[in-house]
Amino acid sequence: MNFDIAVILSNAKFLLLQGLVGIGRFGGGTLRLAIPAIVLGFGVGMVLGLARLARRRWIHYPAAVYIELIRGIPLVMVIFWFWFLVPVILGRPVPEYWVALTAFAIFEGAYIAEIVRAGIQSVPKSQMDAATASGLNYIQTMGSVLLPQAIRNVIPSLVTQFIVLFKDTSLASIIGMMDLTKAAQTVSQRELRPFEMYVFIAVVYWVCTYSMSRFSRWLEVRMSPERALPR
């Protein structure tokens, strides 16, 4: 068998524009799903992470149960749950894109919550005492003293999780959303060249995730001057 580069070139436009970016008549798109999912997942994770550290039990326990429950089941299962539940609850059909986006925000939020919690716990307690002593309230303490340090401490873990989320968006193809994976499936059924198609999208995914991890390394060095010093 010889590697047929022409089949990749002739379908690259569809795969990249429709599959990766989401421009085309099928909607969807890996990036168009991944970027809002990262933003929403981070928001959900932030709220849950703070809730899990709350002193009041009625805030603390539901957050803990939510996180442990979600972390104990596969993402595919969560996607199927939403695929089935969202239309029933709303009483009308919902596009796969919105089902996937909801499922990702809910699922990845639980993982991001654990990272946020680890970040907050990594800040010395004296910081909180000092902030309280200087008259800041809870929101001011969290917003201007604890969270900036906490997030900075966990940037590598956060970006790793965002990379995981980016890769996870491929699962939206299971419920039929047109992303990079689904686009490759569609093309390989027509062209009967699955080897070339999957190698090509593997490389595209790799370029995206690898640049994210390089960016993370750069950010880590830039945001913490003390770590940039030679050890």
């Binding site: 068998m1 442990e68 429950l69 972390r71 104990g72 089941i73 596969p74 993402l75 595919v76 299962m77 199927f80 749950w81 089935f84 539940l85 029933v88 609850i89 993982y111 654990e114 990272i115 680890a118 873990s157 790793t160 999780q161 990379i163 995981v164 890769k167 996870d168 491929s170 699962l171 193809s173 299971i174 994976t181 490759a184 499936q185 390989s188 699955p194 080897f195 070339e196 198609m197 999957y198 190698v199 999208i201 593997a202 995914y205 790799w206 995730t209 690898y210 991890s213």
Partner: protein
């Protein structure tokens, strides 16, 4: 769960008995057994690859380190689903005729899933094991070599035994990820637990009951394994160390 049932409204009729009626109960059981088998077999291969490439990433030889890095960085940065499609649809095309024949007659879905999951999770295991090895002071290896061990012996007798004990928590976490990710094998037609759940849903139109069953079985497995490994971790903890290696991401 109850609030979800409330949201469904009164129009939905619950029939929990579909879960144990023949043949659905059997489907679920077979699905569970397949999930366990797929997870166990892939885990063994993934741990082997993890120890091999995780160690290679820390050895003094630069070419070996580069080979190991190339494997890890490429395989773990591409979605598992893409690897499964690659191994199932793409890779057989380039196999020699005789090998392809054998695989087709011996459960191609299953072996593609094992290949995809093992190689992907092997790359992720390598990272966990590398982190474990690098948390061991360099002096341990150097003193091993100074006492006359070869690099290979220093790894086999000193570094890997200590690292294995240090990394019980992150390896447990990664193993649970492998278990959860085995659900993706349904996409290439392996009859594991998620596949069985979907099958029941398709045949009975009782999605709520079917997904509840699947969800509870996965939760039971994950929480059960986490509980057992927590005990193992305490038993094998190295006395005098309080630092746990940080929980790896999913």
């Amino acid at each position: 769960m109850l609030t979800m049932a409330g949201l469904l409204g009164s129009s939905y009729q619950f029939h929990w008995s579909v879960l144990w009626q023949a043949p659905h109960g059997q489907w679920l059981l077979n699905g569970l057994l397949m999930t366990l088998k797929l997870t166990a077999v892939s885990w063994v291969f993934a741990v082997f690859l993890g120890i091999l490439f995780g160690s290679l990433r820390t050895v003094p030889s630069r070419p070996l380190r580069m080979v190991a890095s190339a494997y890890v960085e490429f395989f773990r940065n591409v979605p598992l689903l893409v690897w499964l499609f690659f191994w199932y649809f793409g890779a057989p095309e380039v196999l020699p005729e005789s090998v392809r024949e054998w695989v087709i007659h011996h459960g191609m879905e299953y072996w593609s899933a094992v290949a995809g999951i093992s190689i992907y999770h092997g790359a992720r295991m390598s990272e966990v094991i590398r982190a474990g090895i690098q948390s061991i002071p360099r002096a341990q290896v150097e003193s091993g070599i100074a006492t006359g061990l070869s690099v290979f012996q220093a790894y086999r007798l000193i570094v890997i035994p200590i690292a294995l004990r240090l990394i019980v928590p992150p390896v447990t976490n990664e193993s649970l990820n492998l278990l959860k990710n085995s659900s993706l094998a349904m996409t290439i037609g392996v009859g594991e637990l998620t596949f069985a759940t979907r099958q029941i849903e398709t045949y009975t139109a009782k999605a709520f009951e079917a997904f509840t069953a699947g969800t509870l079985i996965y939760l039971g497995l994950c929480l059960g394994i986490a509980f057992v490994m927590n005990r193992v971790e305490k038993k094998f903890a190295i006395p005098g160390l309080i630092a746990r290696t940080e929980r790896a991401e999913h």
